[in-house]
Symmetry: C2
Subunit: 335 residues, 2 copies
Amino acid sequence: MAATIKDVAEKALVSSITVSRVINGRSNVHADTRARVLAAIEELQYIPNDTASNLRSSQTTMLALLLPTIVDSFWMTIARGVEDEAEARGYGVLLCNTDDDTIKEARYLESLLRRRVAGVVIVPTTESGPQLQRLRRQGLPLVQIHRKVSRVEADVVRADSYGGARALTTHLIDDGARTIAYIGGLLSTSTGCDRLAGHQDALTAAGITVDPGLLKLGRYSEQTGYLLVKELLRAPIRLDALAIGNSRQAIGALHALAEARLRVPEDVAIAAFHDSADLDEYSPFMTSVIQPAYDIGRIGTRRLFERIAGQHTRFEEFILPNRIVMGPMRGVVLA
Amino acid sequence: MAATIKDVAEKALVSSITVSRVINGRSNVHADTRARVLAAIEELQYIPNDTASNLRSSQTTMLALLLPTIVDSFWMTIARGVEDEAEARGYGVLLCNTDDDTIKEARYLESLLRRRVAGVVIVPTTESGPQLQRLRRQGLPLVQIHRKVSRVEADVVRADSYGGARALTTHLIDDGARTIAYIGGLLSTSTGCDRLAGHQDALTAAGITVDPGLLKLGRYSEQTGYLLVKELLRAPIRLDALAIGNSRQAIGALHALAEARLRVPEDVAIAAFHDSADLDEYSPFMTSVIQPAYDIGRIGTRRLFERIAGQHTRFEEFILPNRIVMGPMRGVVLA
DNA sequence: TTGAAAGCGCTAACAA
DNA sequence: TTGTTAGCGCTTTCAA
């Protein structure tokens, strides 16, 4: 049987609470006493039992991170930010891959509640609202990252989707494009809304009328990007450029353009959000919005710790700036 | 205050142990009683406390996964395998990013012992031996994946490094190469040893003498690959081909060749282990060994669960086959 | 099928 | 600076 705090206490001729104080290092313990306790711990190969201390103190040192997928450098860069921040504070991170499936997510959230995790960092799915409200009712600290569902009492840390999209389209306009189609996510996601708005405002600001026929929305998948561009190309329009709200859609779009023998950027210029390394090999041909993935994770987690510590009262939204990487310019820009 | 099992018991007019039996569904409970308990749970919004049940039953439903890095599709594909298997059984996965740093790894292992995780899936670092032996002494079930350190009581699940390396070099020989250099990992890692052996045996089997001057070993990094190839190119040898034991080294090697204005595969053919998506964009130019990352994670975790359940007595090593993707052939192969 | 009693290993609260 | 007492919320053990 493994040694307990009581065994250590007996060997060191002190009470268990003194051993506890030595282990947790919070209270003052006489140097001699401490030395005796440490010796006993060493001799008995004692390993404190966190499950017991968690129960007694009704708190754990575990966070949960819920992500839509894990085999993807964008999400894993976020995870790395979360992990670094948690590890620095001695917290563990439970990795939960939701597959963007509300059922799977709900199953996870239920188990996290039972596990009494200290807090949750989540990229919510579209229908997460009720589940997240339930967590809040149980008093579980929560931070939404990258995406958000409204009416949930939680801080939000995310990239500037609106600004990024606006910059992309503005760049295309500066490059001489006038007929600019937009491929993006559905309006049921917060990123989908923000990016579309950024695109439209860029057009309006440049005095270009928004043509609803040039706005194509769908799931964030390669196939969707492919199909939406196919659809666009069937219309009798001469497209100057494509603004794309997501990496996977961009890859599909590039394939559709290649099939139509349209060159990038000579025939059609492209500007896209870059949220997956899969887009890397195509990047040289386009202007990209690189989102601050690591900081989203790191800052989100830092905020979560502040919540756990009971700081702050108002829930806030932190919008982090993107980095724009210019692609090749097609036209000549007059300064 | 959150409701406890006792509150539920009172409301349902039963004892707490009956509530426990309903929750865990292991023992027989009369249908009427069950219904009353369920109603009380619903009414009180009762959420079982896993920390309490863990303490009492001295077992948790948590696994730990220790990985050398997480922003990388190879490791994350392994993680996905682990996660899928664990989730299916209601277990959580603690994600531990060791950065291949023994100190950080040791810190993690210590915390996992305290947390009383049910088992550990680990990609060990070179110096993990003593730490892992300590875990075993505490009776913690352990599975090593991808790499192994010897003299640790643990199953091992890994790809066939030897066979993969042998296939790579054999392919180069079949393609007409005779002067084949090898770039690979240090012999302090198990993969480094196995891959070098596979390369050498392929040469020997083809009647080619192993030239020690053509074997260059170093860290699994882009820079190392670059420097080792630079070194090779300084020698007055006409190189036919390069067998490379690691993706990052391969990327560095490609850069060195490009600098020397050597074309791939026309001037120098390349065959490499593919263990990172970063190599993707170069893959069309070379023959690659694709390792069964998902299955390494999945099968490793399955084996861990069998250990946790107390099955098996002997520790075994499972060697999974790779998939070889042929690159362009340089010479003409006569059947 | 159900329950009573005990206790898992630790720490909060209070006391000295 | 150190100790005593009690109890966190559950499940084991034994009994009916």
